[in-house]
Symmetry: C2
Subunit: 350 residues, 2 copies
């Protein structure tokens, strides 16, 4: 008798937004940020074996839709992500995402997952992993400039991975600061709401900028940034979108994920194409130096790279196995005889 139900090969585990939120609460958000950072560190240390390509972007007047693929030779992954700064005005997210892992040997997908939330987690985990390595020793205070979607995730990741004890919030919209402060209340950080970026940076060893306008903005001017800090620049992440005055870039040691992509999308799009930068993975493997001096300004010019998504998806895949936080999705046609797709359709006739 023909079995008309999809076989196990046809079913792909799907992690919905609801599942991802349950996973966050099941694991604990700080533990999950640490776990994702560990997976990213593991993958950055084997950077050279990955298939790397700049993201494939489709630009329009209102924003961009991107596909970010990579592979370590055993597993293939990609993320779909959009960036539409004006979405907020319509009550929509500026960034939504989902992602997939597949088995390289067979090409069959093995995980489909929401990644709007997971991207927020992996971005914060990456920032904190980098800051743990590059920030001045015993950094305890972070300025958080831009208090939108990323701000709470950044703050908690810096707390749990770097040991930050105080975040100093600033946003041009006080309502955003109030939202961030309220969300962080009771989570173990001293939270100070500030009236200006300058005030937020008082006493901060780490300065995180994460603002959303798609234009050449200058969130930090040269005179605002003193010696001996680590700048974690998140918001300059597509062509035409930057946050730092070029003079700061000239004073800083610049660390990037994947130069081919960062030179197009990051803060360094303002610099000459051969301006020296260090690939962060080389700091992790010891092939390049990180911070060499307490007085240095280190800058992580972060635009987000496919390997970070790959690591985050690997983490989710490993964690859902024991929690059951997924649905089996009937995504793949899987006839009994692989050459008999037509017969499968015929046998499904009502």
């Amino acid at each position: 008798m023909t079995n008309l139900k999809p076989s196990s090969k046809a079913l792909v585990p799907f992690v919905s937004v609801d599942h991802m939120m349950k996973l966050v609460h099941h694991v604990g958000i700080e533990e999950m940020l640490r776990g994702i950072a560990d997976y990213i560190e593991t993958d950055f240390k084997r950077w050279e074996l990955f298939d790397k390509t700049p993201r494939v972007a489709s630009h329009s007047e209102s924003g961009v839709i991107e596909l970010m693929p990579t592979s370590d030779g055993d597993i293939y992954g990609f993320k779909y992500v959009n960036g539409h700064p004006s979405n907020t005005a319509d009550g929509l997210q500026t960034v939504t995402a989902f992602g997939l892992l597949a088995d390289v040997a067979s090409g069959y997908p093995v995980l489909l997952s929401e990644m709007t939330l997971l991207t927020a987690l992996r971005t914060a985990a990456t920032s904190a992993l980098v800051a743990r390595v590059l920030a001045p020793k015993n950094a305890k205070v972070m300025a958080m400039i831009g208090n939108g979607t990323q701000s709470e995730f950044q703050s908690l990741a810096m707390k749990t991975i770097v040991g930050i004890e105080e975040v100093r919030l600033y946003d041009i919209d006080p309502a955003a600061t109030a939202k961030c402060a309220a969300n962080l209340a009771g989570l173990g950080l001293r939270v100070t709401s500030c009236e200006s970026a300058q005030e937020a940076m008082e006493g901060a060893q780490i300065i995180t900028t994460c603002t959303a306008d798609k234009q050449y903005a200058t969130i930090l001017t040269d005179n605002m940034v003193g010696a001996g800090v680590h700048i974690n620049a998140i918001g300059g992440d597509c062509p035409g979108k930057t946050e730092l005055a070029p003079a700061i870039l000239h004073r800083a040691e610049i660390f990037v994920e994947y130069p081919e992509q960062t030179r197009i999308e990051g803060e360094i799009q303002q610099m000459d194409a051969d301006h020296p930068v260090t690939e962060f993975w080389e700091v992790l493997t010891g092939a390049a130096k990180g911070r060499t001096d307490d007085k240095q300004i280190t800058l992580f010019d972060s635009v987000g790279f496919a390997i970070e998504d790959f690591s985050a998806l690997r983490y989710v895949r490993d964690r859902i196995a024991d929690t059951g936080l997924f649905h089996p999705l009937d995504l793949l046609a899987d006839p009994d005889d692989p050459r008999d797709l037509f017969g499968m359709v015929q046998r499904a006739k009502p």
Copy 2:
């Protein structure tokens, strides 16, 4: 009170394999092939306004995983598809696929769909659309060489769109021919099983080749192909994979989808990089000539292009609206305040 259920913006219609099979039976397979061909024809006629890019391929020893994006400025679409010739030996499909449509203005996905079955339908619909334009007038007989997954879809599409009355089947594996013949029984075609490719081609005005080996194969040699035929070459679709002897290519008028991709993946990878080809969409708009002579050999060197998937997904989106053949999938995080993703997670705490 906070509503913890996903909003309608967060839910993406998902068409499973089961839904797609139900849609095929609801619409009728021939009607669906004609409908998809109409959508492809519409999109080919507005070819120039599409964002076009060769597919993004990740090759491995066992196969390839590809992303095929495109956009018409209003809608963005992409397909994930693998090609793993040795999968059949493991009881898996050589090709599986799924695809997505998104709203360009917001970047939000609007449809996620299985595409293993849909790819089979759109490939056959494309072949038949092209053959309707290029094949000799009153073509009634098709040779179907390679009797795998595509063979029945190709046969039915050629019947309903071109008016083919007889298919002559040949495969190096007689079991594949027997499967194809059994599946086509009673569907309105005269089906003749043959012992050789030569025999299958007797009296055929259309010759479809669709074999799966990833190697330079010669399914058709020069002396096998007479004048006044249309060759529909499907199986030569990735680097190193071809089916036709170069001498045939020299005698034929060659029509392609997107030359930038076909020169890498199609039969013409065997030819000089400037070997003349005609883009098929130009024949539809009248910008280029199709068949000009009954004695000509026309060749459609088909590798599959993103716009065909885009058209097929558009067709599915339009047809599921009134049939309800989809699940709403909780794919996108959609907090009440778009900047408050963290708060949404906190409020979901059990």
